[in-house]
Symmetry: C2
DNA sequence: CCGTATCCTTACAGATACTG
DNA sequence: CAGTATCTGTAAGGATACGG
């Protein structure tokens, strides 16, 4: 199975898309993301970020200060993918009226 | 949590995106989809199609002939979402060289 | 041909507690 | 603040066999 399938599964994993979307406006810190991505646990955020980082979509910058300060930002590749994810989310908002109508009607 | 989150999870579920992509070129039959979406089981295809149908993204047309003939097609709403999914996949292909490079380098 | 029903295994994901 | 470790339940997903 082609390697892009793996990346697709990372990006479209339960939290992958939301995390990319959260980073697309601006870099953010761990705690910010945790509050921003509604419902995500520390564990899953950490895991999701690691996956995206391993794929080269997210860049992790550590400042070894006290207390530690870590920023997560999109790489150029990440920006392209995140833009597509955003477009997908927008298209979803676009069709939500239809979706709701079908759900009721059924 | 907003209702669009549910639809997002359907669309970005393991097989959701691939199924939408497979339908975006033209309507297809169950068996065709099964062969087209590499690795999917009958159970998951059935389940995925049901979810997308319940969201009003996919239309199911049955001809009660013998043997039975069933076509799955995108609804107008489904077309919009599928287009966005396609764009996402294209963006992924676009960045795959970078991804591969990062994976090796690491 | 188009699915549904059943069984079974894994791995996803939440809660909690703890470390640098 | 920014995570990691462990423990545990749930449910997603695969294989197979059968029904309309």
């Amino acid at each position: 199975m082609c390697p892009s399938r793996e990346v697709l599964e990372h990006v479209t994993s339960r939290w992958g898309a939301l995390t990319l979307a959260a980073l697309s406006s601006e870099p953010a810190r761990f705690g910010e993301l945790r509050r921003c991505v509604d419902g995500i646990s520390e564990k899953m955020l950490s895991q999701t970020l690691k996956g995206l980082e391993a794929d080269g979509l997210v860049d992790r910058r550590v400042q070894s200060t006290l207390p530690p300060h870590v920023d997560y930002a999109l790489t150029p590749a990440g920006e392209k993918v995140a833009a597509a994810v955003q477009a997908l989310i927008v298209s979803l908002y676009d069709v939500m009226p239809d979706v709701m109508a079908v759900r009721e009607g059924a």
